[in-house]
Structures are given as structure tokens and as C-alpha cells.
């Protein structure tokens, strides 16, 4: 879908058209849900947060000025929701449920891969919020560093640094030496 079509749908949604907003949800749900899945480590929580973020986007769609992409705007909202939820929930509870979540969300994978996933989640849990957000946005190559900087409200250089250092820590958690080109 091109930018013109997206702008048309945004215009319709601003006037209260739920069908147009539904199409916008379809267009962007994959990127937003992937970001939240990586940052939370829990698919159910991620989808709940994504729904909250989309619903909030509907409320504040008039504030979207079009200088960035709508996807970036929604992810910015989602990131704020995640930070708020994380503070409310507490780190310990997230760790305690990590093993249960692992068995619930990935039942068909090999034990080796499940172990890697768990090691990565633990490593992610130990990263600062901004670094975690930067990794979740940029590793899957769904967002550029510039978009991630806009979503997280950080300077571009800081985001690049977060990604490089965070990647190294994740690789270390998997027992992989850091790439020489990074």
C-alpha cells in the first residue's frame, strides 16, 4: 500500500471511520507486534500492549502530523505503554514467568533452540530499557536506526551504540564471539 492510500485511510479514520482504521491496523500490526514481542519476551503481553497502543493511537490520531511514518508513531505509543507496564509489573515477576511463557509460546521447537531463546530473554531482561527497545526495533530490520531514534526519543548515535552493545551482549549470552565488523 502506498503513502497516498495510507494518508487517505488516516483521513477517514480521523473522521471516525472504523473500517479505515481496521485497515491501518492490518497494515502495521506485524511490525508493532514483532517489536513488542521482542521487547517483552511474552507473546500474550505483547499483543495486549499492541492492542492498547492501537486503541490509544485512535484517540490521538489528530496529533499525528505526518512528519514520520504512522508505524513509527504507533511504535512510539507502544514503547511508552511497555515502559509503564514494565514499571507496574516489576522485573522479578517477569523472570519467574519466563520459563512458563517459553513452554506456552514455542512448543514445537528443539530443546537447543528453546535454551537459546531463554538465554536471550534473560540477557534482554538485564539490558536498560532504551537499549532493549533499540535492539527490539533494529535487529529484525523492520525499522531503521533513524526511525528507532524517533520512536525512543534518543539521538541517532545513541541508538546505534545501543544496538551495537546490545547485540554484543546477546551474542555473549549465546556464547558467540562478537563480529569483527561491528
Amino acid at each position: 500500500m502506498n503513502a497516498g492510500e495510507e494518508a487517505r485511510l488516516i483521513g477517514l479514520a480521523r473522521r471516525g471511520d472504523y473500517a479505515a482504521f481496521g485497515r491501518l491496523v492490518d497494515m502495521h500490526q506485524s511490525a508493532v507486534r514483532a517489536f513488542l514481542r521482542r521487547v517483552t519476551g511474552n507473546y500474550a503481553d505483547a499483543d495486549d500492549l499492541a492492542q492498547e497502543a492501537f486503541a490509544r493511537t485512535w484517540d490521538v490520531l489528530n496529533r499525528f502530523d505526518g512528519t514520520s511514518s504512522l508505524r513509527t508513531f504507533i511504535c512510539g505509543v507502544a514503547f511508552q505503554y511497555w515502559r509503564r507496564a514494565r514499571r507496574a509489573q516489576g522485573r522479578r515477576e517477569a523472570r519467574e514467568t519466563a520459563y512458563a511463557d517459553l513452554s506456552e509460546t514455542q512448543t514445537e521447537e528443539s530443546p537447543e533452540r528453546a535454551g537459546q531463546r531463554l538465554a536471550l530473554r534473560k540477557a534482554m531482561e538485564e539490558l536498560p530499557e532504551d537499549q532493549r527497545g533499540a535492539l527490539a526495533l533494529c535487529l529484525g530490520q523492520e525499522f531503521t536506526h533513524a526511525e528507532a531514534a524517533e520512536i525512543l526519543g534518543l539521538p541517532l548515535g545513541t541508538v546505534k551504540s545501543h544496538v551495537t552493545r546490545g547485540r554484543a551482549r546477546l551474542q555473549a549470552a549465546l556464547g558467540i564471539a562478537e563480529n569483527s565488523d561491528e
Binding site: S30, D47, F54, G140
Partner: protein, 109 residues
């Protein structure tokens, strides 16, 4: 394994296709939030209205206005309220005498 995409997949995979169930949940949540917001606004308006009506008498007392001086004002306010209630009853009440006229007008406007 050191590939960024592989790391991203291990952290959490993106849904392959848009999920209609997710869209439905988002729209249901959006509509629910809109309904709650409207209800809050209605409650606020009602509270303000009744507070203003309730303020009339203390204010009148403060300005040393008696019931005799207030009587014309109260009479007009009462008639206006009655007319409003009657209009609502005619348009939206159980018999809704003018409901069809309203629908026609809405269609043309």
C-alpha cells in the same frame, strides 16, 4: 546464529500475515474506550448542569433576591425545560411521533 535476523527471530517472531482476530480486538477495545469516554463526558456535563442549577438559589440569596424577583426567571427556565423534555419525548420517546420526520430530515441534510 550471529545474524541479526536470527537473533530477532529468537527474541520474538513477527506475525506472518495480518490477524483478523487482532484487528477485531483492537476495534472492540477502541469502541469500548470511546463509549467510556462519552459516558464520562455525559456524567461531567450532567454534574455541571445540576451544580449550576443548584447554585442559582445560594447566589440569589447572596444578592438579596427573593422568590418574588426570581419568579419570572424560574418560570422561563421551567418552561424551557418542559419544552426540551417534550421535544425529546416526541422525537425519541416510546411512541416517537416525529421519528420518521427526523429520519427524512437527516437523510436530506
Amino acid at each position: 546464529m550471529s545474524d541479526d535476523l536470527e537473533l530477532a527471530a529468537l527474541l520474538g517472531e513477527a506475525p506472518k500475515t495480518p490477524d483478523p482476530g487482532f484487528r477485531f480486538d483492537v476495534l472492540a477495545l477502541t469502541a469500548e474506550r470511546a463509549r467510556r469516554r462519552d459516558a464520562r463526558q455525559r456524567a461531567f456535563r450532567t454534574t455541571v448542569l445540576f451544580a449550576l442549577v443548584g447554585l442559582i438559589f445560594p447566589l440569589a440569596h447572596a444578592f438579596r433576591l427573593g422568590l418574588a424577583q426570581l419568579q419570572p426567571l424560574l418560570l422561563v427556565a421551567g418552561v424551557l425545560c418542559l419544552a426540551y423534555v417534550l421535544a425529546l419525548w416526541t422525537l425519541e420517546g416510546p411512541r416517537a411521533v416525529l421519528a420518521r420526520s427526523r429520519a427524512v430530515l437527516r437523510g436530506r441534510l
